[in-house]
Amino acid sequence: MQTQLGSAVFPRLLRRSLSYIPSILYSLHSLLNLFHFFRFLSNSSPQSQKHKEMASPFLSNTIISFSSSLSSSSSLPRLAPSIPFSAIRSKSTPRRILTVRSKIREIFMPALSSTMTEGKIVSWVKSEGDVLSKGESVVVVESDKADMDVETFYDGILAAIVVGEGETALVGAAIGVLAETEDEIAEAKAKAASKSGASTPSAPPPAPTPAAASTPAPPKSTPAPAAPTVAEGPRKTVATPYAKKLAKQHKVDIESVVGTGPYGRITPEDIDAAAGLSPSKKNVGLAVVVETKPAAPAKAPAASAAPSSLPPPVPGSTVVPFTTMQSAVSKNMVESLSVPTFRVGYPVTTDALDALYEKVKPKGVTMTALLAKAAAMALAQHPVVNSSCKDGKSFTYNSNINIAVAVAINGGLITPVLQDADKLDLYLLSQKWKELVEKARAKQLQPQEYNSGTFTLSNLGMFGVDRFDAILPPGQGAIMAVGASKPTVVADADGFFSVKNKMLVNVTADHRIIYGADLAAFLQTFSKIVENAESLTL
């Protein structure tokens, strides 16, 4: 590795002013820009103007870093005598003699270039407990420009690694601790423990995990959790690759996290939760957004309210992690809290609808299809109720009317979507619905078959529920909650009593785009369509 540059000068780029200095020397193995630099130095006649221009930014850059590194190394205190190019050091610099106060030395993140403010540990060449001798490579550090081997100036034992592989630290922060003898390892470790707290400012926001505070020892960096063979004992922790990466980054003790993924595995979301972060937005586009719905409206907000201060579980309780679908529901429910919603209810007379239903039932038409069709027809007249607000600044008018219908399926909830429900006739719609439900039960729905809804319909009437209130799924403008149709005594304008079937319909909508009057008008239209149900068959 180091031979690739042959015996080219390795500029030692050292950090000044830290007194009891780490004894570190850097050798450089792949600094491409320097490579260019050398080439241009040696090439007296530039090949063409073009190349000169192209390379100049890099050239000047390189010169700066090169010269500054020389000057910084000139101010260095005593360095290892083995440095081969001590000639370049300025003689005028007074050499301070470094008195070693402790035989425990810290290894600092070196400044490998003038622009480097923090460095990432590519890999530790040595591991904890290894005996080091002067001049050996200990760690590979990645700067903004290249990877470099960092060597030790002293013999000793690598007592502790403070900053693990793949982590970053500010220039000058301790990344490891070197003990001179075995006896000092414990002391060095203690020192490392106190350091790891201090070095974190460079790392991403410290995670408020109890683990980080009480056991600041370097996180186990081995990706494979130990204890694999004892399969019979406590179940071994299974974490996905990205979850492991995140755990390292946020310094979350992965063993302390309860996995909520399939087969109880720890997912990136679990780590985010353990680190007290909201799930990263990045996943939204990709994550198979399952849906939402009123199944357990009370539960979700409660669960999400105080993730950090959960009361201790009641003894004897069982913790059952969410399935993927349940996690998606939970996530969507929490997300829905950011939308200002309001509700408008409306009683709808259903005698005509019920009569129609009896008529078309033999032809395979379901109540769901009837309601979806009615809603779609009403939406066609009130496009604002079919719109959505994506960014808080605009209306997004959807060109299609896609009615999502909430369906409870084993252990979850999904919303198959009847696309273009206003355009399809009742029979096609019913047939389509049947297919969707079958697919949903077989878990074979394609993403566009459950996440393309523009309006949601939820019906709990079959349970005898007379009215309820649905939560608006993120990304949609409104959701309709339909209660049971019941015979009701009605007094008309003339004071005559009669018994009519009435159901209560309750719509929840996003008030950023849909106002009370919009919703009221929409419900009035819907009610008229239902009361003149024959129009549904047209």
Binding site: L32, H36, H51, P228, A231, Y242, P262, Y263, P268, Q446
Partner: protein, 566 residues
Amino acid sequence: MHSTLSFSRATTVPTTNYAFHSQSPINLRFCGLRREAFGISILTRSSSGRVRLSTRGRSKRISASTGNNGTPPKSFDYDLIIIGAGVGGHGAALHAVEKGLKTAIIEGDVVGGTCVNRGCVPSKALLAVSGRMRELQSEHHMKALGLQVSAAGYDRQGVAGHANNIASKIRSNLTNSMKALGVDILTGFGTIVGPQKVKYGKVGFTDNVVTAKDIIIATGSVPFVPKGIEVDGKTVITSDHALKLEFVPDWIAIVGSGYIGLEFSDVYTALGSEVTFIEALDQLMPGFDPEISKLAQRVLINPRKIDYHTGVFATKITPARDGKPVIIELTDAKTKEHKDTLEVDAALIATGRAPFTNGLGLENINVVTQRGFVPVDERMRVIDANGNLVPHLYCIGDANGKMMLAHAASAQGISVVEQVTGRDHVLNHLSVPAACFTHPEISMVGLTEPQAREKAVKEGFEISVAKTSFKANTKALAENEGEGLAKLIYRPDNGEILGVHIFGLHAADLIHEASNAIALGTRIQDIKFAVHAHPTLSEVLDELFKSAKVKAPASTSSPISEPVAA
């Protein structure tokens, strides 16, 4: 020494023993696709001059000697029969027609073989999608360009459809091109029944027997599945299944980190999966130049949702069933002890490919395969169990295992057609480029640095290495894709290019300037005067050649050495 041997073989001994070289890989360390290239080149380079003089004499002699056997018929149905209509067979057939040979091609499955139907072609469709997904998902990248894109998503079926469409389109192109040229496409599995005689037919139908002056075996390969791994085609899959993209698992283990595994990791992570690599060797990407694989790991593995286990075998893989996930038992490659158990949603077996040579009837002509591969010499002539050449029988492509790449098969096929039409030709495998279509891409031609160093020590010459970075390339920076490296391994004394390795934007397209230079024997001191359009990515190689320090002066005959005054 080699040249003497080949000389005497050609002139004095009609049935020479050809087994003295290249049957067992000369150096096992060169695993994967580059394994044999090194050994072969020494032979070609040292012997080619003399062999050419004597070829014509030899080929006559061979046909005379086989004439004594009495078996081969006097007149043939075809001049050339090719068994297997993959990319290798197709390339050979087209060239044969151009050379005026009456040609037939036998195919038992669909035209196009692995590459078109289950390999390079559909995988490029998936990679085209993954590249765009990756770009659209990279907020940082988009921001740097000043673009705003809302969450990118994909439709799995649409992606799979794209891959399938492109495969069937290329397949029909191949079929039509052969039909248009008058190549007979014979349907059925081909079996060699005797010298210059092949039977073919579908299972359950009567076989047809056809004869040909020359026969090329081009039956290709199938995914190799190690023992203990149960492939169910759903949760434990090979590349054949993965290319159909029937589902995108949340977490997939990829066994093998060669170019197939790498490309799929690129696809799966772009589509949202997390990936765990399982590699038997101590390092990921073992086939590549170490420096390139190190950089590639920093770009293609570490920042992505990928982790890995190296130095382990996946000794047992059980598909997901009975409510259990896919279970993978890992065994330490050295100690053979159980090391870990993984539970994942799917496993892709990308441990390489095995030759598809069963049922070819090789026993009828006394040919014994080696681990399934058909033994051949450097001219793709098949060698029998006694080490003798089988007259008029050639084997190209994955079935001979020399270099398992589609374009290598095609080049070998063309080389064979050249030979049977009277011009001796030996393919220089060191000039065959290879590419891995990750984002960014990796490409290479010739030797890796360790191989070159070993050769330099053995043969007593010096080598030097030159490197350029994509960070210094205007076009790459304009695309905001400055991550990348090009590396040249060369002889400073005479300017010979020994190897070029590129990791960076469009590396696969950039390699050909180097591979052509190697194929044509162009030296660095000459090629550095060739002009490249500015600003283009090709200037990465321009810079690379110019940064090499060659002692030899530019040759006076070089067409580009003297700039022409306008």
